[in-house]
Amino acid sequence: MKLHQITLASAAVLALGISGAMAANAPGVTDTEITIGNTNPYSGPASSYSVYGKAIGACWNWVNDNGGINGRKIKWISYDDGYSPPKTKEQIRKLVERDKVAFTFQTLGTPTNSAVHKYMNKKKVPHLFLATGATKWGQPNKYPWTMGWQPNYQTVGAIFGNYILDNTPNAKVAILNQNDDYGKDYVIGMQKAMGDKFDKMVVKRETYETSDPTVDSQIVSLANSGADVFVNISIPKFAAQAIKKMAAIGWKPLHLLNDVSAAIAATYVPAGVENSKGIISVDFYKDPNDPEWANDPETLAWRKWMAEYQPRGDLKNKMNSYAWAVCHTMIAVLKQAGDDLSRENIMKQAANLNQVKVPMLLPGMVVDTSPTDFYPLEQMQMMKFDGERNVRFGPLISAETE
């Protein structure tokens, strides 16, 4: 063997050795660190969601100060995408190809995640626990690297559908929904739950665009239909308008409001607390403002974290408790993955969460996935606004989507 052949051969052996070692762990994983990528709107029309990115960053700081996960600290890279899909594409490529993150986590928004859905699956990078409730994130066969987190909109729609069938089987139902995938997903969920009764029971359906100034005319038209059950699928601004208008014209149906808007500060106070009494909704995580959780150990731990790691964070903002819960879901996956931090194994563990308990979820709720079930949270509990707070009632309802 000539010298250069020897060099070549040893280089090849060396390269093999290195690539062998690389295959074990994902890029971005060292003995002391795991790099996680994220995109979130910090600017632009959706910048109110910046709370999520900040809170999760603060959660990782807390993790790192407490020794990390299996001895590894978390490096959290969160880029601003301004809620613009092409920008998301650029930032995600930057995270995957330049920053070499192990995986992405809690990337926010439906259109933004749609823009990278294929890319992440082509690159085989775990695209985990997206901050959007669209139903399409749970397709393990077609998109084995993408998984949502929160109960998807169809699940909530199905819960409403079942509630109507069980409690008011002879009702005339009116629906208001936002005219996009978010609004339509709820209606699809209701249709699935109610089957052919949907067409019989729903007497009127109206939609609105986010650019509409008010939903007053829709409410008047729905009221005139004579419906006695009203399913309200709208974001807080329009939900408040609807509640106000209903009070003004004296329409008092059974009011089912989607979880997105079932917030006291954002919806019920602007709409008038008196007008909002009796509204029924659903939820899956604890509202830290609810006096019920004043002495709850999980909420106290959350408050301690908020005080230490987000001293200027808004304690009234439920996004902060959402962030705490989703962050702990990620921690559970990484703990379960142990020292095998290959992308395959991270995805495998995410798809094998067996009844995992996560703080700030409602009592009894668990995160549960399987290789064929990519919907981690599929339970919710009904609640009714009594003029002061949302009082939960009934058992946890699960509506498995497929």
Binding site: S43, S78, Y79, D80, Y83, R98, P111, T207
Partner: protein, 347 residues
């Protein structure tokens, strides 16, 4: 808000045979073009995939800025609505690929033509509007577009809020990967469009466009059909921006209404002003600024203040500072700066 004050400035008459370092100006220009082209060809082989993708985006935005520059820089008409033409081009391509399974390269020209027609038709009523009023009318276009794309009854075509996936072409040649292939595809389109724009503005048409910008009454009295030229310029501008949109859709592999908000129009405007009005190479500078301006701000803020998400708001403060600095220090954009240097050093 008059264009003529912002534009041109110290343009050198090529007939004077001025020299810098004993080399004549046209030779300098030829050298710059060759060097620029050589760099453009070599770059995708020495940088990694993500940078190739970014450079491709730079060229896409450069083409859009060029389209806007033809309208504003050369013809003096304002537009805050170019995101609408960009969206029209992008959706034309996306729909052709998604619904009719047409190969991507056949969709570029139709997208351009549709946008030409769209631009021309919009240009007709816009004839009655000047300056700020035109800006307002085009603004309406930009604001309405995302809503129209969401509209329920078009959903079969546009995919509604969900948007459409665009199939990304694989490289047909072995020595290029998909990113590099797309880069050269866009580069080639860009060069053709630049040559087209170059011929347009240097000829009779270009002189008419500029005359209308500088003094519409004088232009008309010289026998220039201002109405025809203005609406045609709108059409050509739409054509360029539409092609940029079509290429942009292929590069991003995805279109959705949220991709084409009013902000996109603002980015084009920023790119045009920073690059320099009424200059073709300036469009390339503008493209660079659109892509790297934000990224640069992000890097600087991260380096200065660390990776803390709560400091993200500072990115836009810094970006704003760069813009103010640019407007004050290089008021005619990068192109104006180059012209000023040439004027100073040429003997």
């Amino acid at each position: 808000m008059t264009v003529e004050k912002m534009s041109v400035g110290n343009r050198i008459d090529p007939a004077t045979k001025l020299k810098i370092m004993n080399i004549e100006l046209p030779q300098w220009r030829a050298f710059m073009i060759v060097a620029g082209l050589a760099l453009a060809v070599i770059l995708p082989f020495i940088v990694e995939g993500f940078s190739v993708f970014q450079l491709t985006q730079v060229m896409v935005y450069a083409i859009a800025v060029l389209g806007l520059n033809l309208l504003t820089g050369f013809n003096g008409q304002f537009s805050l609505g170019h995101s609408a033409f960009y969206a029209l081009g992008a959706y034309t391509t996306a729909i052709m690929i998604d619904q009719y399974e047409i190969t991507y390269y056949w969709t570029i020209i139709p997208a351009g033509i549709i946008c030409f027609v769209g631009g021309f038709l919009f240009g007709l009523p816009a004839l009655r509007l000047d300056g700020l009023y035109l800006a307002l009318a085009t603004f309406a276009l930009a604001v309405a577009t995302p809503q129209l794309l969401r509209y329920e009854h078009f959903e079969g075509f546009t995919g509604g809020v969900q948007g459409l996936d665009v199939f990304k072409p694989d490289s047909p040649v072995e020595f290029l990967n998909a990113d590099q292939w797309l880069y050269f595809f866009v580069l080639f389109s860009g060069i053709l469009l630049i040559i087209g724009a170059w011929n347009l503005v240097r000829g009779r048409t270009g002189r008419a466009m500029i005359a209308i910008r500088d003094n519409p009454i004088a232009a008309r009295s010289m026998g220039i059909n201002t109405a025809a030229y203005k609406s045609l310029t709108f059409g050509v501008s739409g054509f360029y921006t539409g092609i940029a949109g079509a290429l942009g859709a292929i590069v991003a592999e995805f279109v959705a209404p949220d991709s084409f908000t009013f902000f996109l129009s603002v980015w084009f405007l920023v790119g045009m002003v920073v690059g320099g009005l009424a200059s073709i190479p300036a469009a390339i500078m503008g493209g660079f600024f659109i892509v790297y301006g934000q990224n640069f701000s992000e890097e600087v803020v991260i380096n200065l203040f660390g990776d803390d998400p709560s400091k993200k708001a500072l990115i836009w403060v810094f970006y704003g500072a760069i813009l103010i600095f640019t407007v004050y220090v290089v008021p005619n954009g990068v192109a104006g700066l180059v012209r000023r240097w040439v004027a100073r050093f040429a003997r």
